[in-house]
Symmetry: C2
Subunit: 182 residues, 2 copies
């Protein structure tokens, strides 16, 4: 990973019929904003995996995917191995009050995003419960803002190795370069 | 509005069966991040409207909602009246290269977020085509990052007048205050 922190993102309690597009968005945000692995508990949805594989093949990078059958014991193991857990929730502490402390700690970060109902135990297993504002909005937005603040905006300059295409930023329309050509 | 810019957000080509939760997330992000109105073209989905009304009643604020039958003429009228249009697209110019210029212009901002296929005309009608990174991710994330950069993070301190409840940020668990009590 080119970023200074190793970050994995865990989406709790994924349900395909309810969450399919929302979880896909969260996975793509994880990849684009510098996380190296996306995990889901709940239903192990191969659509999410397939989508990540397709995006890696086309746009580059090595984003990983995993289904977790016991997310709580996964979290406990993560901490035992010296990793930090950050649970994003609108009930938590304001991101501005904790982000410097989180960033200054070099430990790997497991970022947890929930569904509508998160088991209270995750508020306890987390090192930080972090709120991106205390208004209801979206775990996708919360994840993006958290990673953007963690990486200080540098994640938007990530270069993804491999892939077949690359966008050339342009004022109007679409400019796409095939990799290996110019 | 307590923010220094008047911002409306237009979601193009909403389709309830495909987009319901994604569009709801975009509406809630718009409200929580300082926009004052959310508009959809495509199907006029009363679920989105009902959701916004419910959130306003419970969490405060006066977020507005509108269905637009002809989004292109709406955009043209917006510009005629002196407003700016910012189209969020991964093909656009890097947000860091244009955000200061956008912010320094006091005009009202119409932020357009698309679906999978956006008519090329919107790349032309927009004053700015803005990319929040040039990787595929999520219009919800793009919207959140754009508003966060526009308002320099101050949107996360917005106070919403009215409503019945308010969250008290806390390190563990949930602390919710009924408004008018303490």
């Amino acid at each position: 990973m080119p970023m200074e922190h190793r970050v994995h993102v865990l989406k709790l309690d994924h349900r395909p019929e309810r969450d399919k597009r929302v979880t896909t968005h969260a996975a793509l945000v994880s990849r684009a904003f510098g996380a190296s692995k996306f995990l889901v508990s709940g239903v192990c949805d191969s659509n999410i995996r397939d989508n990540i594989i397709e995006v890696n093949e086309r746009w580059g990078g090595t984003m990983d995917f995993e289904c977790v059958t016991n997310p709580l014991s996964y979290c406990r193991k993560w901490r035992e191995q010296g990793g930090q857990i950050i649970h994003l929730t609108m009930y938590g502490l304001h991101i501005d009050d904790v982000i410097d402390e989180i960033r200054s700690n070099p430990s790997s970060k497991l970022v947890i995003i929930g569904g509508p109902k998160v088991d209270p135990v995750y508020y306890k297993v987390a090192d930080y419960n972090v709120a991106v504002g205390n208004q209801p909005h979206s775990e996708i937005a919360a994840l993006a803002i958290f990673l953007d603040r963690l990486f200080k905006g540098r994640e938007l300059y990530l270069e993804f190795s491999g892939g077949t295409v690359k966008i050339i930023p342009t004022a109007r329309g679409k400019k796409v370069e095939r990799k290996g050509q110019s």
